[in-house]
């Protein structure tokens, strides 16, 4: 039995540092190459020494596939390609290729310049790494080599996020990356065709939740912002340049438009503006509505949202500001925070996850005073809200995807063990397929049925089709083909006997048997034949029995009745050697009938 082996190096019963090794049909594929945001030591990156303890890694990996630009899916890529020394092919979609280097650079700056880490990849390494990337488009079938084929499907989650279908020989796997089954403000829902893979590797971040509709969270968010500015407060929303920022901008923009609000909304210059440009260029990756209306009005040309200038920090009155970075660990968002935190009427909304050690993390944990390096102490009196806007499929969405693509097995990653366990049960019960959830470093082995490609002679098929079509339609009827299996140059073919004789240059020798049964049955021979046919049809149900010119044929066994009227009839039964079983059975049947 051929098998598929999966070993997560990251994201096995865990969120963060997605990196999954897939082996099938002699090919090794790395799915995502992410980093863990919660660690600052070597645990941050996947353990590449698992693949090969020493020596070059390139010969062990046939290709690397990156599902989307989030750092927990691509953060370790420059490390792998420039520092570990992987030189093989890397695949991602066009938007991911455009946006990933920006996020990587952002993260590198924080790590090296703020935290003073050494032994980290450099800006040049990021550029060199991205140069090696092959960009793919949706549904394009890419032949990595002669046997390995990959194809991207739309995944929703963030701009350019993709699920990948991977095939080697007759085995196939779908890796979802992160995906979202419900369309949101700017992206569509994930979609896949009924590709029936042997294995579906699905994320399971929200394995147990059936989430309240996104609308509720959105309404909540808008209500809080509105209430705050109405009272003259200032709202600070720390965001990362790409992804959530655009979704929240669209949300606020449409709300401001609808409610006809005049409070100023700003976003920090630089990255975010540039980021909006990426969204404009890759508008084909957004949802139907934005794509349809972009000629009249590009959703990412914001009317109400203006670029932010540092001097606005001290402006009086209400305002809403989007500022980077998202975890309040440095930069503009932190500066603004320091100024606004001591006032009760202001508000801080954290739309995403914060890593331990950042100011954002402290505040979310309820810190009321924050001390900075220069002994400056800031009192936090402003309201602090946490709101999750991450776009992952919930349990319902995951089940839906399984229904879409009809996998033969499911493997869960990118989630917490307990929740996975629950979902695993549910999948196994509902779909009657096996479900796996290996931990990091653990290998799951999935057996797949053997299917060998074979060339079937058209002559053989046509002859069968003629026989089959001559009978009344019955979907349950067996369609049996007899021929010769032929192995030549390691290729299989299935040929008609005459074809194989021609092929080898031999003359077939046909062996035929004929026996006679005597039967006393007055009446014409044709009448006797009819009688026999009825009898045979009763005994041989499911076989094709035809009668023409008084000759009965049961498949290829011939029965002929001869004799004058009112006389003993001779029934000849004739068959070739290969129909011995049927022929002798019919002969026996006729003989017992006569006695």
């Amino acid at each position: 039995m051929p098998e598929i082996k999966i070993t997560p190096l990251g994201a096995g019963q865990d969120v963060g540092r997605s990196c999954i090794l897939l082996s099938m049909g002699g090919k090794n594929i790395m799915l995502d190459c992410g980093m863990h945001m919660g660690y600052n030591d070597e645990r941050r990156f996947p353990d590449f020494s698992y693949i090969v303890p020493e020596g070059p890694i390139t010969s062990q990996i046939d290709c690397v596939i990156i599902s989307h630009f989030h750092l927990d899916h691509c953060g370790a890529l420059p490390y792998m390609s420039e520092m570990v020394g992987y030189t093989g092919p890397i695949y991602m979609t066009h938007p991911t290729k455009a946006i990933a280097p920006i996020l990587l650079e952002d993260m590198r700056k924080v790590a090296v310049e703020r935290k003073g880490e050494s032994n980290f990849f450099t800006s040049q390494m990021i550029k060199d790494c991205i140069k090696k990337v092959t960009a793919v488009t949706l549904h394009q079938s890419v032949m990595v080599d002669n046997e390995l084929e990959i194809k991207a499907y739309y995944a929703g989650h963030v701009l350019g996020a993709a699920m990948f279908w991977i095939r080697v020989g007759s085995q196939s796997v779908v890796y979802t990356g992160d995906y979202n089954m419900t369309p949101d403000r700017h992206l569509g829902a994930a979609w896949i065709d009924k590709c029936r893979p042997d294995l579906l590797i699905s994320e399971s971040t929200y394995a147990t939740t059936i989430r309240d509709s996104k609308r509720c969270r959105e309404r909540d968010f808008l209500k809080k912002v509105h209430e705050c500015v109405e009272k003259g407060g200032k709202v600070l929303i720390p965001v990362f340049a790409l992804g959530r920022a655009q979704e929240l901008c669209i949300l606020l923009e449409t709300y401001w438009e609808r409610m006809n609000l005049k409070y100023p909304v700003y976003f920090a210059l630089g990255l975010t503006e540039k980021a909006n440009n990426y969204y404009k260029m890759f508008i084909t990756w957004t949802n139907q509505k934005i794509r349809k209306t972009f000629v009249q009005r590009n959703m990412f040309d914001f009317k109400h949202i203006k670029p932010f200038d540092k001097s606005y920090i001290d402006n009086p009155g209400a305002m809403v500001v989007f500022a980077t970075p998202g975890m309040l660990h440095a930069g503009l968002s932190l500066n603004i925070f320091k100024k606004w935190a001591p006032y009760e009427q202001n508000m801080l909304i954290m739309p995403g996850f914060c890593v331990q050690g950042t100011v954002g993390h402290k505040i979310l944990n309820g810190a009321k005073k924050v001390e900075f390096e220069n002994r400056q102490v800031v009192e936090v009196k402003m309201a602090v809200e946490y709101m999750s806007f991450s776009a992952h499929a919930d349990a319902k969405g995951i089940m839906q995807l399984i229904q879409y693509c009809e996998p033969k097995n499911v493997l869960l990653v990118h989630g917490e063990a307990q929740k996975m366990e629950f979902l695993k049960d549910k999948i196994e019960k509902e779909f009657k397929i096996s479900c796996f959830m290996p931990a990091n470093g653990e290998t799951a082995i999935i057996n797949t049925p053997t299917k060998i490609p074979i060339d079937v002679s058209l002559r053989l098929l046509k002859a069968e089709a003629v026989r089959y079509n001559a009978q009344p339609p019955d979907p349950k009827r067996r369609r049996v083909v007899h021929g010769v299996l032929c192995v030549k140059d390691n290729r299989l073919s299935f040929l008609d006997i005459d074809e194989i004789c021609d092929e080898i240059g031999i003359n077939r020798h046909v062996i035929r048997f004929t026996s006679t049964v005597r039967f006393d049955d007055p009446g014409s021979a044709a009448k006797t034949a009819e009688k026999l046919k009825t009898l045979l049809a009763e005994k041989l149900q499911g076989w094709s029995i035809t009668i023409s010119d008084g000759n009965i044929s049961v498949e290829s066994v011939l029965i002929k009745v001869e004799g004058d009227d009112d006389n003993t009839k001779s029934i000849y039964v004739s068959w070739t050697n290969q129909d011995e079983d049927l022929g002798s059975y019919i002969l026996g049947l006729l003989q017992s009938m006569v006695q």
């Binding site: 066009h94 455009a98 488009t137 060339d455 049996v480 077939r508 020798h509 062996i511 048997f513």
Partner: protein, 640 residues
């Protein structure tokens, strides 16, 4: 496999390929040459056109013909709503088509004629830019023809008297088959049928074939189609370009080694180098603008227009004419310009690199922002009229000069020798396009830019692709004796030439189909070597057909043990007698017969006729005797 040709215009092809019980239409081009025989439809009433004299053929007095024909400068035009020449509908029943594959947006204009009100039930496939830009072309065409054409019915009588009319009208090909343009509703329905595919996406055609669109380098989203089954490969090359322009470059590797290569839509202006023409255009435009004249370029709303805008704006800037406004006038101008800049995945590598910065791939977005390039839905837009300044360069349609904004501008500027009209689209002969506007004082330049393959490029391509067979429309084949030398495709592969209305059988023969053999069945077979490198085993299996895919699986129920089934060579009768003796069947008498011999077993009431390639046993004895005979015969013959 058969190939039908339904179009007489090789650059607006329409083929139908029958293969594996499927009817596959390759492109559905609409030939618009016929519109040149009609009088222009001005967007605003033109007194000059209205006052053209009626024409009646000499010695004909037919009141029905009254007012159908007009004369201008010695040429006769039909005064009616222009008609087009759709693909032939008599050869193939469109309701039987299984699939339509579209290569690029210039080759899909007849789609509504094929799919609407014909009972068509198949699928239509095109790339996303092909669908979008094709929509722009079709909507523009439909809007122009319908907005002007509400008045007056269709002139019909002249078609019956066509033999009496002067050329070129008399030479019009089958005017009775000409049709008026479809309604906007039919157009919308036809476009709604199109399924979008990406480059290199394998599209499953009813389980019988895989169809793949591969980049052809001609325009945004232009594709060549590769049809592949397990054993056969057909490449359809239509509208391809090996030049470097804005679209993704041609993917030649995917076309290699096809059993059949169908070649269509080569350049229409083989004598003109597109690069030189672009240079000439810039020079003519500069000279005209310097002299205070304006320039009119009758163009389609997409395609070469993008290159023109890019080159001309840069050239004018270099010539110190950056202040000259560029106008694009079309009902779809805004969409076309905006849309081209979101097609990052479909443009050349150079343009793609700009997207990563991120900047728009085409400079026209920057030109719009800088106010140098303006676009309007029509000439009468208030905003457009308000800031219209001369001298200027106007890009607008239609290149035939029979409808659209261009008609009005030519009427307006025809009398002024300072202005110039520069023809860039290769679809129409420019002299004929201008015929109803004669006499003309404005300058006319012909700078056709057709980036499709020319004949030497196509010959080189065919040599490199090495197809086993080549199919061509007759226009591309060498002229027959006395036809004179014209550029043609000459390849040293078997070539099939098709012309409109013809069907040709092709030499691709199917021998085998691909199936999958289940592992357990394969494990049970024990092949024997019959010849060096060739092993065989008899196999009986059940055939399972699902979604037109074949699977060979074990026959259900108690599986019959595989019997030795194939016996060959001649039977040695003496050996048979010995073998029978070993089986305990003695007293065999051998008699020589006409073409073999007869072995007689009187004790068992059995005769065995032994011939060279057959043995026939007439056995009236017990079953065990027959079994003994079976064993004995089998033992004397080589078998598997």
């Amino acid at each position: 496999m058969k190939l039908y040709c339904l179009s007489s215009d090789a650059s607006k092809p329409c083929f139908v390929l029958s293969f594996k019980e499927l009817l596959i239409m390759l492109d559905c081009g609409l030939s618009a040459h016929s519109v040149l025989n009609f009088l222009p439809l001005p967007p605003v009433p033109s007194t000059r056109l209205a006052s053209l004299p009626n024409y009646t053929p000499p010695h004909v007095n037919d009141p029905l013909l009254e007012g159908e024909l007009k004369e201008c400068c010695g040429r006769v035009f039909v005064d009616s709503i222009p008609e087009f020449c759709p693909p032939l509908d008599k050869v193939i029943d469109f309701s039987q088509l299984d699939v339509i594959l579209i290569s690029n947006y210039t080759c899909m204009m007849a789609l509504p004629f094929i799919t609407e009100e014909t009972g068509f039930k198949g699928q239509v496939y095109a790339t996303e830019p092909t669908l979008q830009i094709g929509r722009f072309y079709l909507e523009e065409l439909s809007e122009w023809v319908s907005s002007c054409g509400s008045s007056g019915g269709a002139a019909r009588r002249w078609k019956e008297l066509v033999h009496l009319l002067p050329p070129p009208l008399a030479l019009a090909a089958r005017p009775r088959a000409w049709r008026r343009l479809f309604s906007p509703a039919a157009l919308a329905r036809a476009l709604a049928r199109v399924r979008v595919v990406g480059y290199d996406e394998r599209v499953d055609i009813y389980g019988a074939l895989d169809a793949t669109a591969v980049s052809s380098g001609f325009c945004l989203g232009s594709a060549n189609w590769v049809l592949r089954s397990a054993h056969e490969k057909v490449a359809y090359v239509s509208g391809s370009s090996t030049l470097t322009t804005h679209p993704r470059p041609i993917n030649q590797a995917a076309l290699r080694g096809a059993d059949l290569l169908v070649l269509a839509a080569l350049t229409q202006t083989p004598a003109h180098n597109p690069d030189h023409m672009l240079g000439d255009l810039c020079v003519h435009a500069t000279v005209t603008l310097r002299a205070g004249g304006s320039v009119l370029c009758p163009v389609y709303p997409s395609g070469v227009l993008y290159d023109l805008l890019e080159c001309l704006s840069a050239h004018l800037e270099g010539a110190g004419l950056a202040h000259v406004p560029l106008y694009v006038v079309s009902p779809v101008a805004d969409s076309s310009l905006a849309y081209s800049n979101i097609l990052a995945e479909w443009v050349s590598v150079g343009k793609q690199a700009r997207v990563y910065l991120p900047e728009e791939p085409f400079p026209h977005a920057a030109l719009v922002r800088a106010g140098r390039l303006r676009h309007a839905r029509s000439l009468h837009d208030d905003a457009f009229s308000a800031d219209f300044r001369q001298p200027c360069v106007v890009f607008c349609g239609h290149p035939s000069l029979r409808f659209g904004a261009a008609v009005h501008l030519v009427e307006l500027w025809a009398g002024n020798p300072a202005h110039a009209i520069i023809f860039t689209e290769p679809d129409f002969p420019y002299a004929e396009a201008l015929a109803p506007f004669q006499p003309l004082s404005m300058k006319a330049f012909h700078c056709p830019i057709d980036t499709s393959l020319n004949y030497s490029q196509a010959n080189k391509l065919v040599r490199e692709l090495r197809p086993r067979e080549l199919a061509l429309p007759e226009q591309y084949a060498a002229a027959g004796a006395g036809g004179g030398a014209r550029p043609h495709i000459s390849a040293d592969v078997p070539t099939v030439v098709v012309r409109r209305g013809a069907a040709r059988s092709l030499s691709v023969r199917r021998r085998a189909a691909r199936a999958t053999l289940c592992g357990s069945l394969a494990a049970r077979a024990t092949p024997r070597e019959l010849r060096a490198g060739l092993r065989c085993a008899p196999l009986s299996c059940a055939l399972r057909v699902r979604d037109a895919r074949l699977e060979l699986v074990a026959v259900g129920g108690p599986a019959p043990a595989p019997q030795p089934r194939l016996h060959w060579s001649a039977l040695d009768v003496e050996a048979l007698v010995r073998a029978l003796a070993r089986e305990g069947v003695a007293e065999a008498r051998v008699e020589a017969g006409a073409d073999g011999c007869i072995v007689h077993l009187p004790r068992h009431d059995t005769l065995v006729h032994v011939e060279r390639h057959a043995t026939h046993v007439f056995c009236e004895g017990r079953a065990d005797v027959r079994q003994a005979l079976r064993r004995a015969i089998a033992a004397c013959l080589p078998h598997i």
